[in-house]
Symmetry: C4
Amino acid sequence: MSAGRYVDARRRTRKLFEPELGGTVGYYTDWFIMALITANVAAVILETVDTIAAAYGPFFHYFELFSVAIFTVEYLGRVWAAVDDPAYEGPISGRLRFASRPLIVIDLIAILPFYLSAAGVQTDLRFLRAIRLVRLFRLLKLVRYSSAMRSFGLVFYREKEKLLLALFANVLLLTLASSVMYFVEHPHQPEVFSSIPASFYWGFITLTTVGYGDVTPVTPLGQFLTGIIALLGIGLFALPASILAAGFMDQTDDESESEYEYCPHCGERLK
Amino acid sequence: MSAGRYVDARRRTRKLFEPELGGTVGYYTDWFIMALITANVAAVILETVDTIAAAYGPFFHYFELFSVAIFTVEYLGRVWAAVDDPAYEGPISGRLRFASRPLIVIDLIAILPFYLSAAGVQTDLRFLRAIRLVRLFRLLKLVRYSSAMRSFGLVFYREKEKLLLALFANVLLLTLASSVMYFVEHPHQPEVFSSIPASFYWGFITLTTVGYGDVTPVTPLGQFLTGIIALLGIGLFALPASILAAGFMDQTDDESESEYEYCPHCGERLK
Amino acid sequence: MSAGRYVDARRRTRKLFEPELGGTVGYYTDWFIMALITANVAAVILETVDTIAAAYGPFFHYFELFSVAIFTVEYLGRVWAAVDDPAYEGPISGRLRFASRPLIVIDLIAILPFYLSAAGVQTDLRFLRAIRLVRLFRLLKLVRYSSAMRSFGLVFYREKEKLLLALFANVLLLTLASSVMYFVEHPHQPEVFSSIPASFYWGFITLTTVGYGDVTPVTPLGQFLTGIIALLGIGLFALPASILAAGFMDQTDDESESEYEYCPHCGERLK
Amino acid sequence: MSAGRYVDARRRTRKLFEPELGGTVGYYTDWFIMALITANVAAVILETVDTIAAAYGPFFHYFELFSVAIFTVEYLGRVWAAVDDPAYEGPISGRLRFASRPLIVIDLIAILPFYLSAAGVQTDLRFLRAIRLVRLFRLLKLVRYSSAMRSFGLVFYREKEKLLLALFANVLLLTLASSVMYFVEHPHQPEVFSSIPASFYWGFITLTTVGYGDVTPVTPLGQFLTGIIALLGIGLFALPASILAAGFMDQTDDESESEYEYCPHCGERLK
């Protein structure tokens, strides 16, 4: 194969797997890969139902072979063709840098267990297949460039200090509440409130208002404190919700804030 | 009957059942039908209470006969008179097109089971009557043209991209959380976390903070993960609430922003 | 007693019990009555604790005698002096009209049971005393004229159409969800989902995300539907919260919207 | 030691422990103390896990000796050096005033139990160590001067009247709901709804939508009332969340509203 044809094949391969380049083929490949990922996730989920696993075991097996084959070809193709991107020049160093990008590592993690198991490494097969679930993160690509995603990113970025403070206040509240409840309830329920870390489980379940009821106070003092903490826990909802609401509102304002682009008196541009 | 009187009767029938045409009669018919639907729903609900069913069985039976009769007359009348609407011209094709409108199909579904059962088709009578519950959707007519409904529609329409993204993020979180919890808890509670789909029930109940407590983690790792997931689940509330709040606010701004674009005294532009 | 002194005593009595008239005495009487109501509520609550009731029974008895005496004097005094208010003229008709005002009726309801019981009507004494709890509503007077209360009232008034629509949507969702769950779960849990009204209890507890766990679905279909309904139930929170947030925001805008009181070009007043 | 060197040592000590003075040394001391507090909290928490306490008992013991030593030096140093601050002049009265500042009292409470126990006062050792948790409040220093904290403070301050009114309304609702439920459920569940105070526990857990399920209504009337109260309880979330959202929004407006009061080009007033 001449060098020109080799480079040409590499360029086509890149176009095939990188939809960002804008090619029609890349667009269809992308959707096919996305659909295959979704089908894989569905397969992993359904396989855990005993009756379905018993009835369709061979199908799941062949579907896995097929999926891993496609994902392997995609992985190798992308790494091989990466050097065409000026950012990843250098036949070995460039490809290594490309291969260590988080999403590419995820792609490797998703297929590696299959080969390890085929090579004789003993593991729980179901768990191995489950590792393919990490590819779910690839689906985030679907929304990465949407304006809603940009909007979310901007609001979270702007309000990050307030959101972190709300988180800090909640961690403090959680630590104090869980510790106090341990000392109040431990003598009466040594099994349930066995330690402060165990008490944290109660704290999380109560402050988030999930309230399973598997860990509940039995002493009057513990019940009184729980009431107060549940009330404070409402702040856990109210604070982030209101911070985000103000953030989304603020952003909408920015977009529509076109008034007074020019001074109404002298006509000079203001912004 | 002469063609003129036939057409006239059809026109009156249409006025009787289509309150949108603005007739006084149609207005009263409409309220009567709405009240009858509400009474039917109440009957279906009360009939499931054994003591009430035992005491008032015959009443419920006659009330059903009466209701189905009225609803049948209404259904036939509307289909028959539909051809007067220019949109549904053609004695057969027009009426068929009218009869396949969703709300009209719901009206048929509500009365058909009664005739099927009368015709000897064996079914659970209670369930048959329950099908009348579908008519509840007819009550939506009451709010269809209110300004609040328009306002809701507009806000949901404008913010649909953000709301869908919030839903997408939650489905992703739910899938990952439920799968991970299956692998963590299944070995210790094979009955409760029997499969990933079963684990989704836990995921929904936890992420929405309902927290029945019929499915709870028992391993320390599972409890730790549950705490984290419950905390993330708060985003499930905070995101849509804050998106909608900004949406409602934005809309209010729009409504009040049109005043005084020009000075009402000198005619100069203000903004 | 001369008519002049009688009228004068009536006027003073009115000043004593109507703090709205602005007298210093009325101000202190008012606070004394409010404190007595709060103490009465505390007494009713504490009296239900057996150990406290056993230890302080006589005290509660004398405190009740004292409270009822004060409340009786206040009630009679206010009704007697009401005729001084031009709105309640007429020695009998005016006083009757005054006595049928909701808050005055509540005051009568709070003391009447004591006299009925003293007159030999057999009733549960504890329950009788509990009726004094209705006076809690008198405490609403404390906030009636605050600017925060006006603000709440205004926001609820402006947004009432949207809030009612949100309520309507939730009642519809609740009715459908509870009915469907009855048909799905009744065959498997005839005791728990015994009727649709009983199923409404499940619906309320699930849609509000309280989730006690005393009524939970056991069928896969029921669990799937519960997940969907819990997800929809989040709207139950998100809608009113976002409507109110926009309402409060809107109101703040109104207050600060002093810009452009005069046209910056011709100087004419705009509002 | 000459007076000059004594004063100089005191000044240095103050710089060492008061990071607010801006010295580099104080900055590092501050971070060291913060880290030590965090490690102490972690130690208190982990010590309650029996297996960890058994395995690392001596380590926890020596770590406590070390921590108390450092905290004692810090406490004595700060009190001793306080007189250099003009606000705390007077060798005894100034130091006493300094020592009675809340955060300084907390520091004393955190170390005192150790010395009491060493002096032979009999107490539960674990509980004694737990008292060090009070130092968690010192961590609040980390966020005291952040702009997010100022923002929170401002919003809570401005909206305090509305937030208090929301709290007042909820306390009223809670009192009425708990009392009514006591009278409805007590005859059927004398153990669970044993008194109104016990019933308050049910009220808190229900109104905050925690819903453990350890206290639930069993009578149809009680279940109906619970449904209504759970629905009203949603206001408990919606009100503060929407008040805070409007508050945060309002504040953002203020910050961005100061621009361009005058045209930067011609100097004419714009607003």
